[in-house]
């Protein structure tokens, strides 16, 4: 389980790190801001410092355990990196994030970067709008 995730990337197993992993892998939403995580833990009386949340998330990102997103908001959003790349629909009303994956789009991107000699390391495609529930 999660302890191995930490060991695998060479991070010591500590209570804050485990708790943050738990929140990130909790069912339901998969996309959290640092503040979201802080509230989740505070709600169940598992207090933690915001500074630690940021530090841990940054380490997790460096270790490839989480992916950081800069959607249109002023803050970052984090999700567990589960290996399979995907893109996002972001509802501007309820802030919900819906994932999708389109192989044709991926192919076109690869073709494009090869054509212009650009060494792509990463990409993000985000579609903003109003989700079905909010309409």
């Amino acid at each position: 389980m999660e302890k191995n995730d930490l060991k695998a990337v060479g991070l010591k197993i500590t209570t804050p790190r485990m708790r943050i992993l738990e929140v990130l892998s909790s069912s339901g939403d998969r996309h959290f801001s640092a503040e979201d995580i802080y509230q989740h833990l505070r709600d169940i009386d598992k207090d933690i410092s915001v500074a630690t949340i940021y530090r841990v998330l940054t380490q997790f990102e460096a270790a490839g355990l989480v992916i950081r997103h800069n959607f249109s908001e002023a803050y970052s959003v984090f999700e567990l990196n589960q290996g399979c790349h995907h893109d996002h629909l972001v509802c501007l009303q309820c802030r919900r994030v819906i994932e999708f994956h389109d192989p044709v789009i991926e192919e076109r991107q690869d073709a494009l970067t090869q054509r212009v000699g650009f060494k792509a390391t990463d990409h993000s495609l985000t579609i903003y709008g109003i989700c079905q529930d909010c309409q």
Copy 2:
């Protein structure tokens, strides 16, 4: 020319607004942070307050004159909205921004949002990596 752009969107013609428009439409780079604009103007002895730059850019964005981008950086980048939508390659080394447009990708996005009943208002596709010159 630019005076009409301002009148067309119902904004008074003021010196700061004209100067910012000039920078945004200057040849060369087309993508500027607020700080970039501040420096450009300062360099040619056209002093301006940073607060005004932010205020004007926000008004321009609301009026559809400029587009604001949140690339992976901690700050926003602005470009003149010239009507034809495009996406971006961002060089992580030199920060250069290269534009591209792919109709197939656009189509796939439309098909997707229609399929899941999502009312898209906007989207951004950004590919990060190293441009040819920096390799």
